[in-house]
Structures are given as structure tokens and as C-alpha cells.
Amino acid sequence: MRVLLAEDDAMIGASVRRGLSQDGFTVDWVEDGRAAELALAERVHDAVLLDLGLPRKSGLEVLSAMRRGGDTRPVLIMTARDAIADRVAGLDAGADDYVVKPFDLTELAARLRALSRRRAGRADPILAFGVIELDPASHETRVRGQPVSLSAREFALLQALLARPGAVLSRAQLEAKLYGWSDSVESNAVEVHIHALRKKLGADLIRNVRGVGWMVAKPDAPQATS
């Protein structure tokens, strides 16, 4: 899950980015409102973490512009002002949730996961498809009830595929989910991780659609050669 973090305080921004990365999020960090708008225009992020007190363009303005432009991605505001009026203004401007500074990293991650579930229309926190079960909170993966140990990238890759089961995701789409701006991506990185995943889960669970991309499959579905 790739998140856009808009926070003008260097220390808070760095800590949130590190903490969320540890929780398996891919985080891109901008420090002012204009940069946030540019990043949003890329349409690669699944959720936005927005500080209200941004320089150049306030978080509230960024949020209003987003919603006016038809951007429905979940927005979680981070505010240092705990006055009810500020939170109400944020929610009324189109935010989905808020945290008040100082907040807890685990809570922030949980709220982001909740937002992502709601956006996907799911209530069950476990992502499941066929014999695969994935718990975004605990980072546990099970295949036919058996735990499987995945690296952070492999986990993120599987999560991206499970988020839209049955849909074929291109390499570029998967790359966008997995890597932030600051990550250097090797040209065949996605293939490498897919290869490892199929090795750990079983080759029949991840299907390659030649020339298009990959999708998760139920084991009894007809097999395609990779």
C-alpha cells in the first residue's frame, strides 16, 4: 500500500515515514501543499496522510481541491489542533479520518489499513482469496492454513495482487505499489519478487498473463504456463 505523507516538520515526517515503512507501507513524503498536489496528480498513492498546517498551501485547501476534482482516495488528517472545530472542518472538507498529534505509529498504521478496507468495500481485516489468507496488521500469510514467511516486498506484492483479486496488474502498476520515489528500482525487481512468491506459495496461485502482467488465481482454476 503506497501512502502520500504531507508533513512540513522534518522530524515528524522522517519518523512517520520510517514507522510506516516498517509496517509494510510504501511512503512518499512531501513537505508543502503544492508538492502534495503534484504528487496526487500522479495517481499512484492509495491513501493520503495530510498535515493541516502545511506551508504554501494548507492541508485543508489541498483536501478541498482533491475532493472537488473527484479524487476519492482516502485522506487521513494529522492535526496539532485538538479543537473540535478544526477536526470538524477537516472532516467536512472531505477527510475520512483524523489523528491528533502526538499520535501512535501503530494506531496510524491501523487507521490506514481500516481506510483501505473501507475503500475496497471489505469488512474482514484478513485479505483472503482461494487458499491464500493475508493479515495486513500482523504481516502473516497462510496458504491452506499453513504460515508462509514472506519478505516485506513479497508481502507488499501479494497484498497488491490480493487487493484486486482476479484483476491483472502490470509490472508498472506493481512497481508503483511497491516502490516509493526514493527507492531505486532494478528493472527486473518485480519479476524477482514474483518468482520468489511463486516458489513460496506454489506456482499455481500466481498466474502470469503473458505480455500483460500477473494475477492471483484459485488453485483449481485452469493453469496457464508461465
Binding site: A10, M11, S15, R18, G19, P55, P102, F103, D104, L105
Partner: protein, 446 residues
């Protein structure tokens, strides 16, 4: 305790009593004059009636004219001075008579005497003056009696009138009592007597100043709490990361960042304290002669390592004048904040210049840098606490440095001005101490 009511009552009653007394005295004097005229006329008439009648008829009538001490005394002599009649032998009166009215002084008080010569005899009628005094006194008494009678009622009326008049004071007192630090509305000024209005006006003035001070304090506390939240949030997050760290290297890195966060929070708290200390009325340090050049040298020495680390050329260029009256610690903070800001916002390899000049008897401190400067539209607001210029370029100060500088400058009655820095670029801060310079004698202006 003094009471306006009691004092007014006592003095008013005293005044009324004096007026009554004056009226009594006046009445007495007038009544005595009238009594004199009346009795004199009576004496004359009586003398005339006695001289008209033949002697033999006199004793019976004269004897009955009066009895007791107030009675008139009649004496009649013949032409040869032989006393023919004396109505009251016990009375001692002059044997010789002076014609007309005379007032004689005798052992039994003054007497009024009238003597008349008629045909063969001299008739003298005498009357004690005390009769007239008594008449006058009783008239005076009758005049003031009603006044004395209404005096108690007057006292009661005065008592209640004063109470009524002082009611607005009670109302004001009650209104003041209802005020509290959270409720400092002005007192109602309508319906107040002219005498109470200045008091209420002054109170309202005080209340409004108090309200402003309290509002300023409250907004300062709210701002401070809000500003503290940011570094504390950072520390909070950094601590969580340190907790999560699984390897020693990760933990060391996280703890290093935590330390940085704590330093930042500490610096903010220190600056808040400095600002609070510079609040008007807080610092009671008596002004002393301060050498700004010495302070500038200390500050530059302290900050030289910071400047050196960024490759900034920091120096004191001139010290033409340097003695001012003030608080040395506060002035050191002022210079330190300005120089620290200049270093912070100047890019590596830049320059920061501190100078002290004499301008028409004023000591002028300038701190100029070759940094990005402050946009003209931001120059007013940068002195507001917690305001950070839009051109700060990612450099995060507490937003308090210049607010502190301004407060200290105000306390020293120094003007502060923002302009351009070195070579027309960057920021130049000019602090002009317009106070009279003491210490080293300033060179006389040409």
C-alpha cells in the same frame, strides 16, 4: 471606618443648628429693639397721665402699675426736690431726676428711667431692663421652637436621602464583585450620577486593560501549548521507533534522532521561558551600563563553531560605540538570537557581519548576512511569535527568536528595523538604542 453618610449627617445637622442659633440671636436682637420702643412709649404715656392728674389721685393708680421685681417704680418730687411719692420704697433709685430717657445701672441690673416735668412736680417712672430682655428672649424662643421641633425629622430625612444618593455606589460595588478573571465585561455606565461616573470610567479602563493582558496571556499559553505539541509529537514518534528497533544499529540511530528531538523541544521551552521573562513587568533588573561590543564578542565566540561548521565567515566589523544602559543578560540574548538566526539562514560559505556604530549619539547594532533575506511583505510579521517566514526554506526554528529580540528591544526603548544584508542581499537587522548613552562619553556632534 469613615462613613460618608455619617459625616454628611453630622455636618449638615451642625450647619442647621448654627443657622437656627443665628436665627434665634437675630430674632432676639430685633425683638429687644421692638420691646425697647414699645416700653419707652409706655413709660412716656404713663408719665404723661401722671402729670396730668392732680397729685392726690396718683398713689392709688401708681401703686398698682406693677408688682414684684418687674414692676415699674414711680417717684414724684415737687419743685423743691422734696419727694412726694415713691411707689416702692424698697427700690433704691437716684433721688435726682434727669429729664427724658436714661438707662441706669443699679445693683439689681440696668433700669430704664423716664422723667418729666409738669407744672409743679417732677414725675419719674423707672422700669428694669430685664423685663424687656425676657420679652425678647421669649419671642426668640418662640421663633426657633418649631425649627428645633422639626430637626429630628430633618435628620431622618437627611439620613435616608444620603442612603438613596449613595445607592449607585452599592450598585457599582456589586457589579465589580460580580467580575472575575474570566468575566471582565465593562461595568454599566448608564443611569449613573455624575459623581460616580469618573470612578466607573476609571474602573472600566482598568478592566479593559486587564482583559487585554489576560487575553494576551491566554493566547500565548494556547500558542505555546500548540507549538510544543510539534516537537513533542516528533519525540513521541522517535521514541516509538526506538522501541521497535530490532538491531543495535537501528536502536542507536533511533536514539540519536530521539536526542535531536529532545534538544529541539528543550530549546523551544527555553525560548518560551526567555520570552516569558521579557514580559513587561516581569524583569526587575535595574539597568546597568552594558558594553555591547563585549557582549557581541562573547556571542560571536560562542557561535563561531556553528558558523565554522557551515563554512560561514562570522565576524565583528566595527565597534564605534557600544555603551548602553540595560540588562546585560537580555541584551546578550538579543545579539545571540540575531546572530544565530543569521547563521541558520545563511547558506554554507556565506557571511555574517556584526557591527556597532554611533549615529547622532545613538548606538546602532547591525547584524547582516548573505542569506535569502526576508520578503518585504513578511517583515512585519516575522516579529510575531511562532510566525515562520514562507522563505524559511525548510529551516525550522522555534518561531520565537525574533519575537524575543523585539521584546528585549522594546524594553530597552530600542528601534528595530529589517533591511537588506550584505551587498544588497540577505537580511540586515538594525537595532537603534536611542536612549541617552552613559559610560564612555560620546564624541560631541560637529
Amino acid at each position: 471606618m469613615r462613613s460618608i453618610r455619617r459625616e454628611l449627617l453630622v455636618w449638615l445637622l451642625l450647619g442647621i443648628a448654627l443657622a437656627v442659633a443665628a436665627a434665634a440671636v437675630g430674632t432676639y436682637w430685633r425683638a429687644r429693639d421692638e420691646a425697647n420702643a414699645l416700653f419707652d412709649y409706655q413709660l412716656k404715656e404713663m408719665a404723661a397721665s401722671l402729670t396730668d392728674a392732680p397729685f392726690a389721685a396718683v398713689p392709688a393708680g401708681a401703686g398698682t402699675i406693677g408688682a414684684g421685681s418687674d414692676a415699674m417704680v414711680v417717684q414724684i418730687w415737687d419743685r423743691n426736690g422734696v419727694q412726694l411719692f415713691l411707689s416702692q420704697p424698697r427700690r433704691v433709685l437716684p433721688q435726682n431726676a434727669q429729664l427724658g430717657f436714661t438707662t441706669l445701672s443699679t445693683d439689681s441690673g440696668p433700669w430704664r428711667v423716664f422723667s418729666a416735668l409738669a407744672a409743679e412736680q417732677v414725675v419719674q417712672i423707672a422700669q428694669p431692663m430685664s423685663a424687656r430682655r425676657e420679652l425678647a428672649a421669649s419671642m426668640a424662643l418662640r421663633t426657633i421652637m418649631p425649627l428645633l421641633a422639626v430637626l429630628p425629622f430633618l435628620a431622618i430625612l437627611i439620613w435616608f436621602t444620603i442612603a438613596r444618593g449613595l445607592k449607585p455606589l452599592d450598585r457599582v460595588a456589586a457589579a465589580v464583585a460580580r467580575r472575575s478573571p474570566t468575566l471582565l465585561e465593562p461595568l454599566p455606565e448608564s443611569d449613573l450620577p455624575r459623581e460616580v461616573q469618573p470612578l466607573v470610567g476609571a474602573l472600566n479602563d482598568l478592566l479593559s486593560r486587564l482583559r487585554h493582558t489576560l487575553d494576551a496571556q491566554r493566547s500565548f499559553v494556547a500558542d505555546a501549548a500548540h507549538e510544543l505539541r510539534t516537537p513533542l509529537t516528533a519525540v513521541h514518534l522517535q521514541a516509538q521507533l526506538a522501541e521497535r528497533a530490532t538491531t543495535d544499529a537501528e536502536r542507536a540511530a533511533a536514539l540519536g534522532e530521539l536526542k535531536g528531538g529532545l534538544e529541539r523541544a528543550t530549546r523551544l521551552v527555553e525560548q518560551l521561558l526567555t520570552l516569558a521573562r521579557e514580559e513587561p513587568g516581569v524583569s526587575e533588573v535595574p539597568p546597568a551600563s552594558v558594553d555591547l561590543a563585549a557582549l557581541a564578542r562573547e556571542v560571536i565566540a560562542d557561535l563561531a563553531p556553528l558558523a565554522g561548521a557551515k563554512g560561514i565567515d562570522l565576524g565583528l566589523s566595527s565597534t564605534a560605540a557600544s555603551m548602553v544602559m540595560g540588562d546585560a543578560d537580555a541584551l546578550r540574548t538579543l545579539i545571540s538570537n540575531l546572530v544565530d538566526n543569521a547563521i541558520r539562514y545563511t547558506r554554507a560559505g556565506g557571511r555574517v557581519d556584526v557591527a556597532l556604530a554611533d549615529d547622532a549619539g545613538s548606538v546602532v547594532l547591525t547584524v547582516r548576512d548573505s542569506g535569502p533575506g526576508i520578503a518585504v511583505e513578511d517583515r512585519e510579521r516575522v516579529f510575531d511569535r511562532f510566525y515562520r517566514g514562507s522563505g524559511a526554506g525548510g529551516i525550522r526554528g522555534s518561531g520565537l527568536g525574533l519575537a524575543i529580540v523585539k521584546r528585549i528591544a522594546e524594553r530597552h526603548r530600542a528601534d528595530i528595523e529589517l533591511g537588506t544584508g550584505i551587498d544588497g542581499r540577505g537580511l540586515g537587522v538594525t537595532v537603534r538604542f536611542t536612549q541617552p548613552i552613559s559610560g564612555s562619553p560620546a564624541p560631541a556632534a560637529p
